[in-house]
């Protein structure tokens, strides 16, 4: 009994270094569950759907996860997401060339992210509140510039869009699916790899961890905490913009409620993936796992013909379980 307790305590200690383990484990369990319970779960079509939808939210999650590691929140990513699509849609409809529209949309998203950062670093108010404010404000801007209506691009097909989020012909041919696999998956993987490299391999990445871990100590050791925060807020905005453009490249239309509720899903995905709410710890791998887990939950429940409310309830439950288990593991010493 005593030996078993020792073993368990040691296991906890080891696990405490890998909070992603909880995400991996729950991912696996959920996967097995749906494999048994949901008809047609393990088909190319359903896997394709999970990856395709997960790619868009996943890119936003990566930004938010970096920001959470840095010790801050961004609740405005959903509104920012809608904003980028509207900028793209309205300029394209107005006849602007795509090579201007896309950079413009990305610029707007980055600036909105930077604005969040400026508000937070200048006023020292909690980012949770600051971005709750900008979430509403940016949404208001979206409604104003879109006049509260859909914006749909009906012009000539844009060849670039097939590179952004076209049919992933290779995979669809291989699996015999119609168009469930999309190119956005490649961009998602690319963004994840780059973000991981930035976090783990660069000075800036190291400073993100330091800033989130203990801002006063970091600044005492010569880290420019303000700059790190501003940069991370901007990156988060930029990633929301990138995800938005990828989605628009496929759907060619945007509505005023686009991205509504996304801000919480991405925080949930990060937390499930082991990113610490208080900052200082987290991995892109974990955030990606968290995103895919939630997407799988969505897909699995749809296949089981269970109403969407159950998704929300289950997602909520998983978040709480993930946080409890991560906290429990984190306490091990």
């Amino acid at each position: 009994m005593g030996l078993l307790a020792d073993k368990w305590s040691e296991a906890r200690h080891r696990l405490s270094y890998f909070p992603e383990a909880v995400a991996l484990l729950s991912f696996f369990l959920l996967f097995v569950f749906f494999y048994i319970a949901a008809p047609n779960f393990l088909t190319a079509m359903s896997i394709g759907n999970i990856l395709t939808f997960g790619s868009i939210t996943g890119i936003v999650t990566i930004g938010v996860a970096m920001l959470m590691i840095c010790g801050e929140f961004d609740l405005s990513v959903g509104s920012n997401f809608a904003c980028a699509s509207y900028v793209l849609a309205l300029t394209l409809i107005a006849g602007w060339p795509v090579w201007i529209s896309i950079p413009l949309a990305l610029l707007v998203s980055s600036l909105l992210g930077l604005l969040n950062g400026v508000i937070v670093t200048r006023t020292q108010i909690p980012s949770f509140i600051a971005t709750l404010g900008t979430m509403l404000a940016y949404r208001g801007i979206v409604r104003a510039i879109g006049k509260g209506d859909f914006a749909t691009y009906k012009g000539e097909p844009i060849p670039l869009f097939s590179y952004l989020n076209g049919d992933f012909v290779l995979l669809n041919k291989f699996f015999g699916t119609t168009s469930n696999f999309r190119v956005s998956l490649i961009w998602f993987i690319l963004v994840a790899i780059i973000a991981s490299l930035v976090l783990m391999r660069t000075r800036f990445g190291n400073w993100v961890f330091a800033t989130g871990g203990a801002p006063e100590a970091a600044s005492a050791q010569g880290v420019d905490v303000k700059m790190v925060k501003l940069a991370t807020f901007t990156i988060t905005g930029l990633l929301a913009g990138i995800a938005s453009i990828l989605q628009f490249a496929y759907r060619l239309s945007v509505d005023p409620l686009r991205g509504d509720g996304m801000e919480l899903i991405v925080v949930a995905a990060s937390v499930i993936g082991g990113v610490r709410l208080t900052g200082g710890y987290g991995t892109i791998f974990g955030a990606v796992m968290g995103t895919l887990l939630l997407q799988m939950l969505d897909q699995g429940l749809v296949l089981m013909k269970i109403p969407i409310q159950v998704f929300q309830a289950t997602a909520g439950l998983i978040i709480i379980i993930a946080v409890i288990s991560n906290t429990y593991l984190g306490k091990a010493d």
């Binding site: 990445g205 330091a210 203990a214 100590a217 050791q221 010569g222």
Partner: protein, 502 residues
Amino acid sequence: METAAPVLSLKKISKSFSGITVLHDVDIDLYPGEVHGVVGENGAGKSTLIKIMSGAYQPDHGTIHYQGQLLKNITPRWARENGINTIYQEIDLIPSLTAAENIALGNEPLGKGGSIDWAAVRSQARRILDDMGAHLPIDVAVGNLKVAHQQMVAIAKALSLNSQVLILDEPTAVFTSSEIELLFNIIRRLKAQGIAILYISHHLDEIFQIGDRVTVLRDGYLVRSGLIAEFDKPSLVRAMVGREIDFSLRNGHSLLGEEILRVKNLSRSPVVEDINFVLRRGEIVGVAGLVGAGRTEMARLLVGADPLQHGEIYLNGRRIRPTSPMVALGLGIGMLPESRKEEGLVLQRSMAENMAYSLVQKSSRAGVVPWKSIRREVASLLSKLEVRPANPNLQVTYMSGGNQQKVVLGKLLAAKCDVLILDEPTRGVDVGARLEIYKLMYEMKTEGKAILMISSDLPEILTQADRILVMAKGRIVAEVPAAEASEEKILAFALRLESEMV
């Protein structure tokens, strides 16, 4: 002792804060390869001195020479980058990063393509720690390391910045004796490397063991300074004490009544060990001791703010088991916490509301609050406390420290406590308010209440207390009646030098 030039030399340094001078013309020289101990009572000016050295404060007068150059307006950043490093008690590390990452932070070695060379990060950390003779895991988040190890990481970090002057502020406050020995070995190695060390400590033994020179501060004045060989413990203690005491503040005679509180074998290892004492009505018992002696921790046990490990508490002969300060207050034991802002007051509410909180607890009937009678009672308390401005609706946050303290006292009065535990009741309080607080304490005493007063201000203890308990390392090491107490005697007990002094 080589007669090299000092690496850091402060001359005629003065510093005052809002009109109160905390350093008067202090000189201090740090020589390469020497440990310079600085001792003095709480409030003698030690912290201000090191903050001036590390650039956190600018001196009002005086000059600082570093490596032969006159320095003006040094900033903490400049000091750090140019070899003056301070290891504070609250260690400046990022708990979620590993030892190696913390040491490299800000100066990460870069490899090809500008990416961090993690192998170099680890080998650098390993090399510095090995040079120090410190053996600790470098791949574990420092938050999971022992405090002693965290401190070694902080020292290693300083060395990675090519430290020439290392300032250690109470480095051994929470160390075990083997950890102290480990630190001393490291210090000896650093001395051999020619690093100058400023060593601040309450523990005179340590100064004698590791110090080459010692400087004594008292009330912001340099009292004595010299080679350690010129001192022995009694002479050092004599230099530390001797502050002016205004005995006209003496808090009247003792008015001993019957026993009200009895504490038996109170323990919470390792901070509080086997505390026994009795409190009578109409007396003020002072609790003296150094920072870290376990005084606040002992008080927190009495009111149930921390769980008891062992021991019994009797109130009026009846055993009580307070499980929280709220419960203790209900039983009639009130505590004025050390940090009133964090524990004692709701700053955004008015002072009347703050006082009413404790009244509400006492006088609510079936959950209904009798606001009318509460308002009347608050008004009478406010006039008694002489709070200025006497506006009961003023938000507490706009009041001075002294008046805030009076509001907290008012809360305790409102709760009609029989036993009051006052933790540093006059810290950060101006002289006028201080006298009024003494007056209030005296009134409470004459009303038959018992007061346990924790204070780091020895003159305050000597003038206000009827009886003095001295704590050291979690234990009560002496009980001294006020009539027989002197600053020197109390300090000797607190420093655990009693055998050598008497």
